[in-house]
Amino acid sequence: MPELRFEMPSNLPELAECLAGAGDDTRLLGGGTDLLLQLPALRFQGTTLIDLSGMRELSEMRFEKDVLEIGANVTYARIAQDPFIRSRIPCLAAMAARIGSPQIRNCACLPGNLVNASPGGDAIGTILALDARVRLLNGAGAIRECAIDELVLGIGKTSLSRNEAIIGVRIPIPASPWNAYGKIGLTPRREVIIANVSLTMVFEITEPDRRIRAARMVLGSTSPRAHRVSSAEALCVDQVPSSELAREVAEALKRDVAGTIGANPAFQHKLNDVRGLALDLFHELFALEL
């Protein structure tokens, strides 16, 4: 049996060198919480793992003007606990706090979720709702940026080439903290749940009239990849948050889900889930009576 090979770059030039030599049997190892489930096959194939854990520079969070760059090695635990993220980008903190278990959150990072490209991948939806972009390094040492919907193409499919690695996720800092995330899981366990439906709402609201200027709403786990629901977003523009608006948005989201799941009886419960989730998030953000 061929041996699994392990490469351990400690900085970007070394990572670029590893990427330059990457073949079809090379995989990047982030937190390992998706990849290690495939370990028997990876061992059997004599895969080369490029382990990112020794790259200190990818463990940083950096602020540049209005953008927060989260390094590829920053764990969900750190995102969930970060005071700035909790106060300004609460949807991101809430999403991170509900990934897996404490043990998983202490290892797992954003890029692995994006590249794994599962329909139930929670980070994909929230990152899309925040209009974030990923920074990619290639084997020639060049860096490019790419939007989430250009990266994640479908179930398990991305536009990443085998000579590229995500080195960071760049998130435009919302002007105001009117954003929230929620998910309803498949099992009764409170933690370690795969989303049945997840929803991220990001509002741009002007004070003092408290009018919604723009909204981004992303549903996860209801279609092959997380997607924006423009019909629900459009309802919010130039409106003041109200119970009536919340109900209209909930119905629009429900219609969107009905369109994607069709008549499949196994998925009909998602209709009520998405409605409830939408009302919950409106309540959480605007303390409305619903």
Binding site: F6, G31, T33, L36, A77, G100, S101, Q103, I104, N106
Partner: protein
């Protein structure tokens, strides 16, 4: 492949198969079988160890990833022949039945108490949410962690 790391305070330098997970290294190479494997896929927490101060599932970490880092396992809780207060509290509270989940429970609880010496019940429940127990019903485990926290506070007062 060469692997240098610290295990329960001792610096180790080993030559290992890079295809091993941390749990394989602990149990099969180092014969430290205190850490248990339940599901092997991050769901049950039986394999929990503390890596650089935080709880992780050792079935979800490649052995080579702990290079230069500090690993604490259940074997490292005992100090100078004395059980850790947490271990004592688990025994005294009847928090152990078959015992299979216990090493993982202890390590999740230890990681919590290292960071938050006087946790609330909610904090305890959250910290232990990645550990499954099919015997105890959890209540006595939570009480044991509360008891250990009180013992530690009394000790340091």
């Amino acid at each position: 492949m060469r692997l240098d790391f610290t295990l329960n305070g001792a610096v180790l330098s080993l030559d290992i198969d890079p295809g091993l997970r941390l749990i394989d290294l602990l149990r099969d190479v180092l014969d430290m079988t205190g850490t248990k494997e339940g599901c092997g896929e991050g769901e049950c927490g039986a394999c929990t160890i503390i890596l650089d101060g935080v709880a992780v599932d050792s079935c979800m970490v490649m052995a080579m990833q702990v290079r230069g880092r500090e690993v604490l396992t259940v074997e490292g809780l005992e100090q100078k022949g004395e059980l850790d207060e947490l271990q004592r509290a688990f025994i005294d509270s009847g928090a152990i039945q078959c015992g299979y989940c216990t090493p993982g429970m202890l390590m999740s609880a230890k990681a919590l108490l290292m960071r938050t010496p006087e946790p609330t019940e909610h904090e305890i429940r959250s910290a232990m949410a990645g550990n499954l127990c099919r015997c105890t019903g959890y209540l006595k485990i939570i009480q044991a962690v509360q008891k250990a926290s009180q013992m530690q506070s009394a000790h340091h007062a």
